[in-house]
C-alpha cells in the first residue's frame, strides 16, 4: 500500500519553505505561492457542479410537474431516483466508463443521478404543502390548472424547492471531489495527487468546503429575494 502512496506523490513541490514542504507540513507560504495551481481544478469543480445541478433540476422539475397531477407516479419515481441516490457515485463513475468513456459526461451523469431524488422530493413536498384553501380559492376565481400551477403553487413551493436545491448543491460539490475518477478533474484530483502533504490537502479541502458554503449562501440569498412574503409577519 505504501507503494501506492509513493506512486501518487507526483506533484511539483519546487517552491516555498523547503523544510516545511519536505516534512509534508502545513506551509502558508507554499500555499500562497501555489494557489494558482488550484484555479483550474476549482473552476472545473464549479463547472461540474453548476451543469449537474442545472440538468438535475430540469429533470427533477419535469418529473415533479408530471407526477404532481398524476399522484400515482410519485411512488415509482421516488423509488427509481432513490436507487440512483443510493448508488455510490464512485461506483457509478466506473459503471459508466464502458458506456460513456472518461470525461465530463460520465461525471455529470453520475452527479445528476444523485441529485434527482433530493430535488424531486422537495418539489413534490413543496407543492403538497400549498394550503388546500389557497388552491381552492384560486380555482374558484377562475385560474386554469396551468395558471394555478405557475402563479400560485410553484411560487408558494419556492422555499422548499430552493431548500432542496441547497442540499443538492452542497452534496454535489462534495461528490464532485470524486469526479476525477471519471477523468473530469476538479479539486479532488489535487487532493488525490498528494494526499500526505498537509498544505495540499488543507488547501484543496478548504476550497471545496468554501465552494459548498458559497453555493449554499448564494441560493439562500436568491431564496430570500424571491420569497419576500415568507418573512412578512404582522407588525
Amino acid at each position: 500500500m505504501l507503494d501506492l502512496i509513493a506512486q501518487v506523490q507526483i506533484q511539483d513541490r519546487s517552491s516555498g519553505d523547503a523544510s516545511c514542504v519536505a516534512d509534508n507540513g502545513f506551509c502558508p507560504s507554499w500555499i500562497v505561492d501555489n494557489l494558482n495551481r488550484y484555479t483550474d481544478p476549482l473552476l472545473q469543480h464549479v463547472y461540474l457542479t453548476i451543469v449537474s445541478l442545472a440538468i438535475g433540476f430540469a429533470i427533477s422539475f419535469g418529473l415533479a410537474l408530471i407526477a404532481h397531477r398524476r399522484r400515482w407516479l410519485v411512488a415509482p419515481i421516488t423509488q427509481i431516483t432513490g436507487v440512483l441516490y443510493t448508488l455510490p457515485s464512485i461506483a457509478v463513475f466506473f459503471l459508466l466508463l464502458p458506456i460513456t468513456g472518461r470525461g465530463n459526461t460520465t461525471a455529470i451523469i453520475a452527479l445528476v443521478a444523485y441529485s434527482l431524488l433530493i430535488i424531486f422530493r422537495n418539489i413534490i413536498a413543496g407543492l403538497d404543502n400549498v394550503p388546500a384553501e389557497t388552491k381552492d380559492a384560486g380555482r374558484g376565481m377562475g385560474l386554469t390548472d396551468r395558471q394555478l400551477l405557475w402563479r400560485v403553487e410553484l411560487p408558494l413551493a419556492l422555499p422548499e424547492i430552493l431548500a432542496g436545491l441547497r442540499i443538492a448543491a452542497t452534496t454535489t460539490v462534495g461528490l464532485a471531489t470524486l469526479a476525477f475518477f471519471a477523468g473530469a478533474g476538479g479539486l479532488g484530483e489535487r487532493i488525490f495527487e498528494d494526499i500526505v502533504f498537509k498544505s495540499n490537502v488543507v488547501t484543496a479541502g478548504a476550497l471545496a468546503v468554501l465552494l459548498a458554503a458559497a453555493f449554499d449562501v448564494v441560493i439562500l440569498i436568491v431564496q430570500r429575494a424571491v420569497t419576500p412574503w415568507a418573512r412578512a409577519r404582522a407588525s
Binding site: E133, A137, G142
Partner: protein, 400 residues
C-alpha cells in the same frame, strides 16, 4: 322594495350588476356512492337577493353552492345563470364571472393585498390603471385604508382584515353573482357580527345576487332574503323568506332546525318602528289635571307619562300627582325601560322582561317619546303575516 330588477350599472364593469340564478333538479352523486349528496335541488334566486343555504353538516349545502361555479360537476339536472346553463360554459371562464369567498379565505400568501384583489381583473385582461383604481375602490368599500393596506402581505393582516380582503377580492371584477361559503365562520362572535352588518350594508349598495352557505340558523335568518333549508341527503326541506320559515315551518325537520325559540327569532326580524305602538298619555308639569285624566282615558296605558319640555320622558306619575288642580312632579316610577325605535323587537322584549315591566316608552332619535311598547303589542306582532315582515337585510338597511 322591488329587487327583482337588476340594479343599475355601477363600477367599471359593463355586465349587469346582478344575475338570476336557477337550480333545476340539480343533482350530485359522488363516484362510488349510492346516495346523492344533492338531490334534485330546484330553486330560483331572484337577481340582487341573498339566498342562504343552511342545514346540518353533510346536508350538501356546500356541494350545492360549488356546483354553481362548477368547482363540482353536476351529475344531472342543470343550473342556469341568467337563463344560461353553467354546463355549457368553460369552467375557468365561468368562475371569473362569479365572486368566490370561502371560510378559510384562501388569500395568496405570496401576493400583496393589491395583487390578491387584482387576480381576476388581470385574468380578464383589464388595463393596469383600471385595475389599480378598482383595487383602491374595493378596499374603501370594505372599510380598509388603501394607502395602508395595499402593499401588505396577508400574513400582516388581522383575521377580520383578511376576511375583508377576501370579500373585496371576490367582488373585484364586479361579478353578477357571489358565492360565499361560511365566510364569517372562522371569526370570533363580536367581529362576526360586525362583518355581517358590514356586508349587509355593502349589499345594499352593490345589490349582488348572493348564495351564502352557513350551518348557523341565526346567521341564515340575519343574512338571508330567502333561506333554503337542506336536510341530509341533499334534499330541500323548505325554501322561504326568513319570517315565513319561522312562522310556518313546513315539517318536523325544519321546525327542529330553526329551534324551539323560532317565535323569538322572528322578533329579531322586526323593529319597534315597524309595528303600531300604543299612544302615550304625555303630560307636562303644570298641565290641568282634567286634561291629563282625559289623555289617560284615551290611551291603553293606565298611567300618565310625565315628559319635559322637549318631550323626553321623566317618569310615570302617581295618583297623588293628579289630586290637585295642576299636575305635580310626583312620580310612581321611572320611565324604564326606554326602548328605541330602531331596536329589534327581541331586544325590546328582553328589556321589558328584565325590568319586570308590562310596557315602556319608545323614544325617537331625539330622545322624545314616540309611543308605548307593551308585551301585548309584541304578542300581536307575532301574528302578523310573514309577507309584512322585512328580511334581516332590509331591517338593517333601514338604519341607513
Amino acid at each position: 322594495m322591488n329587487r327583482s330588477e337588476p340594479a343599475q350599472e355601477q363600477g367599471p364593469s359593463a355586465r349587469p350588476a346582478a344575475a338570476t340564478l336557477e337550480f333545476r333538479e340539480a343533482t350530485k352523486i359522488y363516484p362510488g356512492q349510492d346516495d346523492p349528496a344533492v338531490d334534485a335541488l330546484s330553486l330560483t334566486v331572484p337577481a340582487g337577493e341573498i339566498c342562504v343555504l343552511v342545514g346540518p353538516s353533510g346536508c350538501g349545502k356546500t356541494t350545492a353552492m360549488r356546483m354553481v361555479n362548477r368547482m363540482i360537476d353536476i351529475t344531472s339536472g342543470d343550473i342556469l345563470l341568467d337563463g344560461r346553463s353553467v354546463r355549457e360554459r368553460r369552467p375557468a371562464e365561468l368562475r371569473r364571472e362569479i365572486g368566490y369567498a370561502i371560510q378559510q379565505i384562501g388569500l395568496f400568501p405570496h401576493l400583496t393585498v393589491a395583487d390578491n384583489i387584482a387576480t381576476v381583473p388581470r385574468l380578464l385582461g383589464w388595463p393596469k390603471d383600471r385595475t389599480r383604481a378598482r383595487v383602491d375602490q374595493l378596499l374603501e368599500l370594505v372599510s380598509l385604508d388603501p394607502a395602508d393596506t395595499r402593499d401588505r402581505y396577508p400574513a400582516q393582516l388581522s383575521g377580520g382584515q383578511r376576511q375583508r380582503v377576501g370579500v373585496a377580492r371576490a367582488l373585484a371584477a364586479d361579478p353578477p353573482l357571489m358565492l360565499m361559503d361560511e365566510p364569517f365562520g372562522a371569526i370570533d362572535p363580536i367581529n362576526r357580527e360586525r362583518l355581517q352588518n358590514e356586508f349587509l350594508r355593502l349589499q345594499k349598495e352593490i345589490r349582488k345576487t348572493v348564495v351564502f352557505v352557513t350551518h348557523d340558523i341565526d346567521e341564515a335568518i340575519k343574512m338571508g332574503d330567502r333561506i333554503a333549508v337542506l336536510q341530509r341527503g341533499g334534499k330541500l326541506a323548505q325554501y322561504a323568506p326568513p319570517a315565513e320559515l319561522l312562522m310556518y315551518p313546513n315539517g318536523r325537520f325544519v321546525e327542529d332546525f330553526v329551534g324551539a325559540d323560532r317565535a323569538l327569532k322572528r322578533l329579531a326580524l322586526q323593529r319597534v318602528r315597524d309595528i303600531d305602538l300604543w299612544k302615550a298619555p304625555l303630560v307636562r308639569v303644570g298641565e290641568p289635571v282634567a286634561d291629563a285624566r282625559r289623555k289617560v282615558q284615551d290611551s291603553d296605558v293606565p298611567y300618565p307619562l310625565l315628559v319635559d319640555a322637549d318631550g323626553r320622558p321623566l317618569g310615570w306619575l302617581s295618583e297623588r300627582a293628579l289630586t290637585g288642580e295642576r299636575v305635580t312632579e310626583d312620580l310612581r316610577s321611572k320611565a324604564e325601560p326606554a326602548v328605541e325605535l330602531d331596536d329589534v323587537l327581541r331586544d325590546a322584549l328582553s328589556d321589558l322582561l328584565a325590568n319586570e315591566a308590562q310596557y315602556g316608552p319608545v323614544l325617537d332619535a331625539r330622545g322624545a317619546v314616540a309611543g308605548v311598547l307593551s308585551l301585548e303589542i309584541i304578542g300581536h306582532a307575532l301574528q302578523e303575516p310573514p309577507e309584512q315582515v322585512r328580511s334581516g337585510a332590509d331591517a338593517l338597511a333601514a338604519d341607513g
